[in-house]
């Protein structure tokens, strides 16, 4: 290990002369980044598999990852290889798609520190890697970003970005924009200060780091910062909206997906919940947590910010994806971003300015009564505010929100956003004795339960212009997988009880399904193989926050386990077992 820095430096020097152009994603054939494209559409332009033939889909090949925790990653396909990143220990496998059965070409073991496992809040997941210019980039749970030679799997550099001893981990999939690798941290529950960091793709050197709490100088907020709403304007609001010093450990981490608009030259990413303080201990809006930043990729400077959940009371976060599309709203063409937030609203925002054009409930909501698009303010319902000494029932949506990390997909053909999500509420009961690190305390124990629909999971096709669901499919468990839309008007998603499903993009009618060996919480992708055929791939492997009862062998007799999620997932172990496996399908 001592030789590693010198080795990395040598490689970096060799590569320094190579210009790193923005990756022209090989959209027709491959899947170079977790969300397929910078706009985060998860839309495959391939149409060989369509609504008439999807029922003939057959298993083409499988690959066991050798890891049994929650598999949330998207397989990455570029240059005839498929790259699979596993949960901790964060192995990377490269499969040669030109060889029969997609033979293993190389495996890379980052030697992730075992102690990182005890730090991660919600299973030891990894949401995947990114391919750009002959390199494969990914993150490890113990806070490394690693660049590999995509052809050989040889390590080119690794950048150590955080400290697991302080509760900091990395679980997100990086995005590569204009020669920079964008990476964010996780661990807001544990007193981590959230950031987005840009690394030089050639060398791994930090180009800039933008903190999501603290003074403007560290949040990279300057003259160009022009938020749409007055509530986000002011000096050093990342300090003034907190009790003194609380911002230093205030959360606002970045563990979701980053998107990018090349025309506006703006990055978009959501910030996570404030922490680790009890809400009563952190009066104020707690900026810049539970919101969205638009930043310039060159130097990280902020263009605008909007806060979905000021003074987040319910652990709602703002990390869910931002899908960049162009819509005609009230007769006017607008460049918008679509964002189904954990607080239960689908936001349609002008992505140039940060103006909220609409915010419409897509799940039953009791915690707020609406969003004022003129002021940008969400109207919280004080009756549902968790408070010490008070029992609060029917908090909807529950802490994982109307939708958690599981990314939605957009079809430019149907103009619908396909949202995998849950319908859960929770009761906050007070005062169960607990202890941690030798410290006894009493907490508000959350117990989640099915929402009003009675179905814990829903797959919704959402029309963002009409502001209503076009159709819905109800599922037994939260739909914790990503969604995939294709030009064949087939939409794919997986269920926690192990079904991989294809439905008609226009009607939601079932077209095909396959029972995988373990529950599916991964991100399905589609690509054209070297043989010219369209394939659909997904990782199975139950886990994540929702699946922790199985992946972590939790005792479901403790309803408050996994932050109260165990209470509503008690029966999951009767439906699936652990096991990481790649499944790839094609037409015969």
């Amino acid at each position: 290990m001592l030789a590693a820095p010198r080795f990395a430096a040598t490689i970096a020097a060799c590569l320094a002369g190579v210009a790193l152009a923005a990756p022209p994603p090989d959209e027709a054939a491959g899947w170079p980044m977790a969300a397929h494209d910078y706009a985060n559409t998860r839309f495959s332009p391939l149409s060989d598999i369509d609504t008439s033939n999807a029922k003939e889909l057959k298993l083409a090949f499988t690959f066991s990852t050798g890891v049994v925790r929650g598999h949330e990653a998207a397989p990455i396909v570029a240059g005839g290889l498929m790259y699979v990143v596993t949960p901790y220990p964060d192995y990377v496998y490269a499969l040669d798609l030109a060889k029969p059965g997609a033979a293993l070409k190389w495996k890379y073991d980052p030697k992730t520190e075992a102690s990182a496992q005890g730090v991660a809040c919600c299973d030891v997941v990894n949401r995947g890697g990114a391919y750009a210019d002959g390199r494969f980039f990914f993150n490890t749970l113990d806070d490394n970003t690693i660049a590999l030679d995509a052809a050989s799997g040889k390590e080119l550099w690794r950048a150590h970005l955080g400290d697991i001893a302080r509760g900091e981990t990395i679980t997100m999939a990086p995005l590569v924009v204009k020669g920079k690798v964008l990476v964010g941290n996780s661990g807001g529950e544990l007193g981590v200060r959230g950031w987005l960091t840009a690394l030089d793709a050639a060398s791994g050197k930090v180009a800039w780091r933008a903190f999501n709490t603290g003074p403007d100088s560290e949040a990279l907020i300057g003259e160009g910062f022009a938020p749409f709403y007055a509530s986000d304007r002011g000096k050093d609001m990342g300090v003034s909206t907190w009790p003194p010093n609380a911002w230093k450990i205030g959360g606002g981490t970045v563990w979701g997906f980053v998107s990018y608009d090349p025309d506006l030259d703006l990055l978009y990413y959501g910030t996570a919940n404030p922490g680790p303080w009890n809400p009563q201990q952190r009066p104020g809006a707690n900026k810049w947590t539970s919101g969205v930043f638009a930043r310039k990729p060159a130097d990280g400077t902020a263009r605008w910010f909007y806060q979905y959940s000021p003074h987040d009371l319910h652990d709602y976060d703002g990390v869910n994806e931002h899908v960049l599309v162009d819509l005609t709203i009230d007769g006017t063409p607008r460049k918008v971003l679509l964002h189904p937030d954990r607080n239960g609203y689908v936001y349609v925002m002008d992505r140039a300015t940060g103006e909220v054009l609409s915010a419409t409930a897509y799940v039953p909501i009791t915690t707020s009564t609406g969003v004022d698009t003129h002021t940008g303010a969400i109207a919280w319902n004080p009756e549902k505010e968790p408070k010490a000494g008070r029992m609060v029932n029917d908090i909807c949506p529950a802490s994982p929100g109307g939708k958690d990390w599981q990314p939605s997909a957009w079809s430019p053909r149907t103009r619908l956003l396909y949202i995998p999500h849950q319908d859960l509420c929770q009761d906050a009961e007070t005062y169960e004795v607990s202890y941690i690190a030798g410290t006894p305390y009493v907490g508000a124990d959350l117990k989640m339960k099915p929402g009003p629909s009675g179905h814990r999971g829903v797959f919704t096709a959402w029309d963002p212009v009409a502001r209503r669901a076009a159709w819905k499919v109800e599922e037994l468990f939260p739909v914790w997988s990503g969604a995939l839309a294709t030009a064949g008007d087939v939409v794919f998603y997986g269920t926690m009880d192990g079904w991989f499903k294809a439905v008609d993009a226009r009607t939601g009618s079932a077209l095909w399904k396959f029972k995988a060996g373990s529950g599916i919480i991964g991100q399905p992708v589609s690509y054209r193989g070297p043989d010219g055929k369209q394939y659909v791939a997904v990782l199975a492997g139950i886990g994540g926050w929702a699946g922790a009862v199985v992946a972590g062998d939790l005792d479901v007799r403790d309803p408050t386990a996994a932050g109260g999620f165990a209470n509503v997932m008690k029966d999951l172990s009767q439906h699936t077992t652990k096991g990481g496996m790649l499944y790839v399908f094609s037409l015969p």
């Binding site: 509760g167 529950e189 007193g191 450990i249 680790p276 652990d315 941690i436 006894p440 305390y441 907490g443």
Partner: protein, 264 residues
């Protein structure tokens, strides 16, 4: 491949023998670095109590080290890594607990020239105070909540329970160096460091302020075993009762503040 089977069989036999032998072993899970409770050198008071109880039961003491973090019970007792946790709150729902062998409280730690104040004292709001941060959504220590209820948040600094060294130690250092006027922390943890401070700091027991009586500031502490291990729990109860005086002496030597009601 063929040679594997005999080796496996031998391993199984060894495992079987080990299980048989473990009847005479008290398997304890403890944090390898969490003074004053435990460390791998055996210097913590829970280390000493474990040794005392094992000796009383005529068993060999064996440690399995595991940082006391999220999932601790599941990874220790739940995974059959060990059989006993030395200090858990009595009635802790995840385990079967012995009768409490001591009872302690949250305390206010301060310099001698900074007198202890109640939560209703308005001067509290101007004091620079430290509290432990639990690091779990909506959770807070009882005095942390009480401070928030009394509007004392502006000058309160949180010390995360995960970090370099115990939060209690870091808070005491901050008081020593003038960065804090005081801290409100769990007694057994912080009193140990407060006594070692130079000069030693004052430790005052805290009680729940008016209107917050539902929130306990005191906790009885027990040993914990798996819920099905009633027989082991009973043996531990007997040992704790017989060695009560010795345990008291150990707790005294670590300056563990105590209240009545922790007698087995």
């Amino acid at each position: 491949m063929c040679s594997r089977f005999p080796r496996r069989a031998a391993a199984a036999l060894v495992a079987l023998l080990a299980t048989a032998a473990s009847a005479a072993e008290l398997r304890v899970c403890a944090d390898p670095d969490n003074m004053p409770y435990s460390d791998t050198r055996g210097l913590g008071f829970e280390n000493r109590i474990a040794a005392l109880v094992a000796a009383e039961m005529g068993m060999a003491l064996r440690y399995e080290w595991m940082p006391l973090r999220r999932g601790f019970v599941r990874k220790t007792l739940g995974a059959n890594l060990c059989d006993v946790l030395i200090g858990v709150p009595a009635g802790f729902d995840r385990v079967l607990t012995t009768r409490p062998y001591y009872r302690s409280a949250y305390v206010f730690v301060h310099r001698r020239d900074q007198p202890a104040r109640g939560f209703d004292d308005p001067r509290l709001r101007s004091m620079r105070l430290g509290v432990q941060l639990i690091g779990n959504d909506l959770a807070a220590t009882p005095p942390g909540l009480a401070l928030a209820e009394h509007g004392a948040v502006e000058n309160v600094t949180g010390f995360t329970i995960y970090g370099e060294g115990p939060a209690a130690e870091r808070m005491v250092e901050a008081i020593e160096h003038g960065g804090l006027d005081g801290c409100l922390a769990w007694g057994p943890q912080v009193a140990y460091f407060a006594r070692r401070a130079d000069p030693p700091l004052e430790v005052t027991l805290l009680t729940a302020p008016a209107g917050m009586e539902a929130i306990p500031f005191t906790f009885p502490i027990s040993m914990g075993v798996r819920k099905a291990d009633g027989a082991l729990r009973d043996r531990l109860d007997r040992a704790l009762e017989r060695r009560h005086a010795d345990i008291e002496a150990i707790l005294d030597s670590y300056a563990v503040p105590r209240l009545a009601g922790g007698t087995p």
